[in-house]
Symmetry: C2
Subunit: 395 residues, 2 copies
């Protein structure tokens, strides 16, 4: 039997103060949202505790913690009380619209344990903002973003022992939001389920921090104007697995998604892309494709732009980059580094791109190039609390 | 308690003979698929029976029959025995890849009860062919298509009383196929679940057989080259609901999806599109957009093309049609009819298209235009067994 505890609201006052990221709404509408509240949280603790895994050879996202957060919504009754309860299967109607029409979205964030043994989240409100935007696009109900961060903090508190004691590992947090309509018409769901699961993770790529290889081909297109490429909706991902297999067949690890007849570089599905180079005008520049609706607005991407702009050491630019730009710059020796960024991988250098039958070799000093290395250090210093920052939110 | 019956294989010999549609493979590979078999079917009958609904005001897909078919697959163990069992919720791991990455697809078909009280399927192998193609694109395992039709026939036999006694109603059949991988990496699933549910349905549109109104706008794009528009994958549908709401805000029922700078007419999500007109060369022509990867290859679409080509009364053409073509033809009085086709709606005339702020009125004599009316009759005559055809498969 599990114990059920109603947590008094006074113990749960939101405490996002200190975070430098937006906790208010951009349009002042949040107050009018009839959201779930952390004050209503019901906690049912698991009576069994799974063994913690050895993180050295752990495959990403295969082990889950003891608890999960679930919050139900119905059109008739609105948001229900949030529940933290033992991790377990979901019971879903076979007509569930998440399963037929991909009325679904997710987020990816992490909890990090510092050498001070404190556990921190990294800019969680940016995930909430993106999640709220995905929910609007998926026709799922609005919620109070700060309340959800507080619920997630409570979940991580409950499973605090699952946050690895390692500065190369973390507890991956997966908020998921499903339409659970119980009928077959393609329509706005009248039922929905928001839930959060936790998974201790080590390195994202099985090759560790080694440079990744990418397959750049325009046979498959990830996203397009008028689509959902800037939202974290499931449909963007499932359609990519087929192309991913083709990338592996060609001896590459991931797909570098292109767009348009000029083969614009967009993103890698699990990562945004950065090129550090001397641009066409001879300027030293860190460039990344702009958020034009085709690209997921990554939290790590935004943080890298903000950090490097603060440094003021080179030009930082959101601009279009084509494969021809890259090939030409490589030929002329103007490329310094290329790397991907994402919550799962943090910063991951790119060593090789297979494009039109040609292997483009990207400079990588000693496997981990200088700027990528510096950024990874600055970011993880903040994430693991070695550097004080208002991007950190204590759990 | 439910009774469990193992059905002997002799009772289940495949009997697709008589169907004019392809039951062999196009590439001769099917024999090598280690598929589930109807001979292994296990039937567990429900001890309770729900009341059959009144079909007059029934909303599409809201009521389900007493039983469902489920077939599990694992990478390690292959396909398991098919089960027919009481309709009920699915128990799914919270990391299920169908719910995070839309590794999912579905089909739509119907069982029709004739005045002879016999129950028939309409060209089920065409659904199976399309489902196999969607499965390949979604990286879900292959299966023997004829075996699945036989399993579906058995399911409809078990719930035979749910096939409405009406020639304006039918039993909608929804095969669904999910990746049920239990970890968070974006990858080919190691677990999958194929299931089929049944729903008695009346008219698809709430307006009945009245002409539908469409909103044609290029703000949202349903599908694109290099995507999944020609597969029945969930991601194509969930992303459309937002645009569907905008269509309703503009006073239209559905979105007419366009593509490209020249605003090509593609499809309506639930329907393929047909234009019956005098074309640019003055020829009487039935035209529908070609299957170029953007459009779902509809079974009703294919049947209409085959029927009208057999008639030989006018030109039948798969060709590109732009909104400019349509507007020009309307202005010159060359449009005779426009209609959509689909399993759910059969044939549905289009009465009005809102395009660039202008209402394009499509000729509709007495609500149901001549060719649409004739096609609907020919198709339903076959579906309800009033006309003998090798497109019908007896249940």
């Amino acid at each position: 039997m599990a114990s059920v505890t109603a947590v008094p609201s006074s113990a749960n006052a939101p405490s996002l103060k200190g975070s430098g990221d937006d906790v208010s709404t951009s349009n002042g509408m949040e107050d009018s949202i009839h959201s779930f509240k952390v004050a209503d949280l019901v906690i049912e603790l698991s009576q069994t505790h799974k063994a913690k895994p050895d993180l050295t050879n752990l495959v990403f996202g295969t082990v889950f913690s003891d608890h999960m957060l679930t919050i139900e919504w119905t059109n008739a009754g609105g948001w229900q009380k949030p529940h933290i309860k033992p991790f377990g299967n979901l019971s879903l109607h076979p007509a569930c619209s998440a399963m037929h029409y991909a009325v679904q979205l997710f987020e990816g964030m992490k909890a990090y344990r510092g050498t001070d043994d404190k556990v921190r989240l990294f800019r969680p409100m940016l995930n909430m903002n993106r999640m709220a935007k995905s929910a609007e696009r998926a026709c799922l109900p609005a919620f109070d973003r700060a309340e959800l961060v507080e619920c997630i903090r409570r979940l991580v508190q409950v499973d605090r022992e699952w946050v690895p004691q390692s500065d190369s590992a973390s507890l991956y947090i997966r908020p998921t939001f499903l339409g659970t309509e119980r009928s077959l018409g393609v329509k706005k769901p009248s039922h929905a389920l928001l839930y959060v699961i936790l998974s201790p993770v080590g390195s994202f790529f099985s090759t560790g921090a080694k440079p990744v290889s990418l397959w750049a081909d325009s046979k498959y297109i990830r996203a397009w104007r008028g689509g959902t490429g800037d939202c974290k909706m499931g449909g963007n991902y499932g359609a990519s697995i087929y192309a991913q297999h083709e990338a592996v067949d060609y001896g590459c690890q991931q797909v570098l998604w292109q767009y348009g007849d000029d083969h614009q570089i967009t993103e890698v599905g699990s990562m945004n892309m950065f090129l550090f180079w001397n641009n066409e005008n001879g300027e030293e520049e860190l460039a990344t494709p702009p958020l034009d609706g085709l690209i997921l607005p990554g939290i790590t991407r935004q943080s890298i732009l903000e950090l490097t702009r603060k440094w003021g050491e080179f030009k930082v630019c959101e601009r279009y980059l084509t494969m021809a730009d890259l090939r030409c710059a490589l030929k002329e020796g103007r490329v310094k580094e290329m790397f991907g960024s994402g919550t799962a991988c943090v910063v991951s250098p790119v060593g090789r791109i297979l494009y039109q039958g040609e292997n483009l070799h990207i400079p990588c000093q000693e496997d981990f190039p200088q700027l990528a290395s510096r950024l990874r250090k600055e970011l993880t210093d903040i994430q693991y609390g070695r550097t004080q920052s208002d991007w950190s939110v204590l759990v």
